[in-house]
């Protein structure tokens, strides 16, 4: 039976039967898409394109949400009002060889979901970089390619970034050194207040990467059509 089962799983695009160890809650975005698709056939008689993700308007039949496996980096020497430095790492090795990444979207979520009462005039500055080589402890920080630099006024909800090119690059070169996220704070007069804002930010930071891929099954059927 197990041989038969693994052959059937392979036909469904799975290399082995998954056995979740620490299952995480279903990300709301996936749950929303699932629910919408479930109700779609009864409302809409048009044939559904199984190889397109309408929500993001990209080709694809598989959507994954990767949790961040990175860790905080010690800030080292004081650098202005740098609040946090964190390595972001998403293990994309679960993608099958024949899957093509059509979209990758990074979500940086702040669980502090209301406006900070004392954030008047202060601005957070976010920088997202891609390291070009592995950093060794005690050695100078290696060169990094700056991907995004953005200011945001308040810790509110979430920020989304398109990382499709980066994810394709990780896959193409089979080399994923992750990303480096830095958040700094500026503005305002009270140094203590700025430090107060800074110390709290890492406690409610949550990052995930949503990846849409097009499997071999879809690529074949699209070519046939």
């Amino acid at each position: 039976l197990s041989l038969q089962e693994s052959l059937l799983l392979k036909s469904l695009g799975l290399s082995a039967k998954p056995s979740p160890k620490t299952p995480i809650p279903v990300p709301p975005v996936l749950w929303r898409i699932f629910q919408r698709r479930k109700t779609q056939p009864s409302m809409n008689k048009e044939p559904v394109d199984a190889c397109r993700v309408e929500e993001f308007d990209v080709p694809g039949d598989i959507i994954r949400v990767f949790t961040d496996q990175g860790h905080f980096i010690p800030k080292g020497q004081p650098q202005g009002q740098l609040c946090l430095r964190k390595r972001l790492y998403f293990n994309l090795s679960m993608l099958e060889e024949d899957e093509n990444v059509t979209m990758a979207q990074l979500e940086i979520k702040f669980h502090h979901n209301s406006y900070h009462t004392s954030s008047q005039g202060q601005i957070f500055e976010l920088r997202l970089s891609q390291p070009s080589q592995v950093s060794l402890q005690g050695m100078p920080e290696p060169r990094q390619k700056l991907l995004v630099e953005q200011s945001f006024a308040q810790l509110h909800k979430s920020l989304l970034f398109n990382l499709s090119m980066v994810a394709r690059d990780w896959r193409m070169h089979n080399r994923n050194l992750g990303l480096v996220l830095e958040v700094a704070v500026s503005g305002g007069d009270e140094v203590n207040e700025l430090q107060g804002l800074c110390t709290s930010i890492d406690s409610f930071l949550d990052t995930s990467l949503l990846v849409v891929t097009l499997s071999q099954q879809c690529q074949v059927s699209r070519r046939r059509r």
Partner: protein, 114 residues
């Protein structure tokens, strides 16, 4: 002369039959999050002579029926198979505990034909 056949009734004509697949029945409930099961259906029934429009017959099936009438031992009747299927989405955990939403084509039998 056509061969002798058992009488065909409406109930044994080729058409979709109800089949609910429960993922817990196949032991997949611990990694498939949703749905817990779905109405997959299957095709069953005969494709007798004469093939009517309701039986969704292919031209090949019409000719196979003719040959079957002449040589019932050597050529079987056409098969009853799915002719229209629809997809479903499945939400599951992969081996790294990531949540995956995958669209699978051809999972539900909507129509059968000969």
């Amino acid at each position: 002369r056509s061969a002798q056949h058992p009488p065909i009734t409406l109930s044994n004509l080729c058409r979709p039959r109800r089949l609910y697949i429960s993922f817990s029945d196949v032991g997949w409930e611990n990694w498939i999050i949703a749905p817990q099961g779905y109405l997959a259906n299957y095709c069953l029934g005969e494709c007798p002579f004469p093939l009517t429009a309701e039986l969704n017959s292919t031209n090949h099936a019409i000719l196979q029926t003719m040959v079957h009438s002449l040589d019932p031992q050597g050529t079987p009747q056409p098969c009853c198979v799915p002719v229209r299927l629809s997809p479903i989405s499945i939400l599951y955990y992969d081996n790294s505990d990531n949540v995956v939403l995958r669209h699978y084509a051809d999972m539900v039998v909507d129509e059968c034909g000969c």
